[in-house]
Symmetry: C2
Subunit: 200 residues, 2 copies
């Protein structure tokens, strides 16, 4: 009901087509696709992509299934959710952690904690840009739980900036998205931020 | 004169061929290659591969150019050389550090320190397996400098083990290769190892 892709049909990876393309790539970079170590690479990459891009076939509603009512009016925050995604510009991984917090709405709807981590994966397992990923996670929670507010912070290292291009190992990209009360109230937002950034 | 690929002609990435294959892959995973964020992806990936696989067009002799004689009989060790390579099984990056040490031979031939780091890159910028990478760096130094011995240790994290498959974030793979006196003398090897593993 919330985000646009709620409408889309589930998609899956066309493995034979990936395999053919990977073989092409091996030849194009000057490798021998028939040497022992590379023989099964097209098949392995195709299977790996099924995992890496599984989110393209999923909707937030697929994982935000367990929704229950609870008399809880304070922020629920899950910190340091391991995150692996793929940079849509260079098709190399970016990885780090996501912190997801929300304050339940008047009706007290909450979801299972693991569902927040699964939701991150739904959007991370796509060709992505970190800012969009951050926003999509927020919007999905807003749409499905109708909470008073959502805050999502993602800290990630982009291999496209470390292994190639400008080559800045260690550089971290931090993005955040706030919705509802986290947007309107400076105090609520800064309280959440200090909980998120607390490194004890 | 040393390793086999010394004979091979330089190779370069066939960019149009990579671009076509990347477009195919985007379609095969269920993406729209014509959406704004992906339009330039095939071109970017092709350029990125030129960097990521540049080693296929290079020989150790291309970088081990500066070789001079010095009256130095002790080990020369360069630690913590940043390393980015590509797993040849899944075509995702693995990254970490390489430690490269050698003891000059009777003729005292040594090379520039930066050349050791460049040599690591020559072999890292190929579809690789960590063990082979470790051995190739050692063999190239043996062949070109004729030292009394070489030791190479690589510690790396494989994204194919963290972002997919068994999913073990933090797992590190350590490989080593010893040649010459580092192989024959337990004491020389263990002294080098303690210098390498020293984390002060
Ligand atoms: N804001 C944002 N930028 C990103 C993300 N991922 C990603 O590659 N970029 C940036 O996208 C831009 C693509 O630029 P470009 O079209 O000039 O491609 P390029 O490969 O030549 O750029 P580069 O060599 O500077 O990385 C780069 O600046 C890159 O750092 C992301 O998640 N968020
Ligand atoms: N020794 C060694 N093994 C490696 C390297 N890179 C790499 O992917 N492997 C391993 O190669 C194997 C490929 O196994 P496989 O043919 O069953 O492919 P797979 O994708 O189904 O394996 P997986 O899902 O267990 O990773 C995996 O065990 C993977 O961990 C490396 O550098 N050295």
């Amino acid at each position: 009901m919330s985000s646009e892709d709620e409408q889309l049909p589930p998609r899956s990876v066309d493995r034979p087509r990936v395999e053919k393309a990977i073989r092409e790539i091996l030849i194009a970079i000057g490798e021998d696709p028939d040497r022992d170590g590379l023989l099964k690479t097209p098949e392995r990459v195709a299977r790996a992509y099924e995992e890496q891009f599984a989110g393209l076939g999923q909707k937030p509603g697929d994982v935000l299934t367990t929704v229950f009512e609870a008399d809880h009016e304070e922020m629920v925050l899950v910190k340091d959710i391991e995150l692996y995604s793929t940079c849509e510009h260079h098709l190399v991984p970016f990885y780090g952690v996501a912190h997801v917090g929300y304050i339940p709405g008047a009706d007290g709807r909450i979801t299972g904690l693991s569902k927040l981590a699964r939701l991150v994966d739904v959007y991370a397992r796509r060709p992505q840009v970190q800012e969009r990923l951050t926003g999509q996670v927020s919007d999905a929670i807003m749409g499905h739980l109708q909470p008073r507010g959502v805050i999502v912070v993602i800290e990630a290292e982009h291999l496209c900036m470390t292994m190639r291009g400008v080559r800045k190992p260690g550089a971290k990209t931090v993005t955040s998205a706030v919705r509802g009360i986290f947007r309107s109230s400076d105090r609520t937002r800064s309280e959440a931020m200090s909980l998120i950034l607390d490194r004890r």
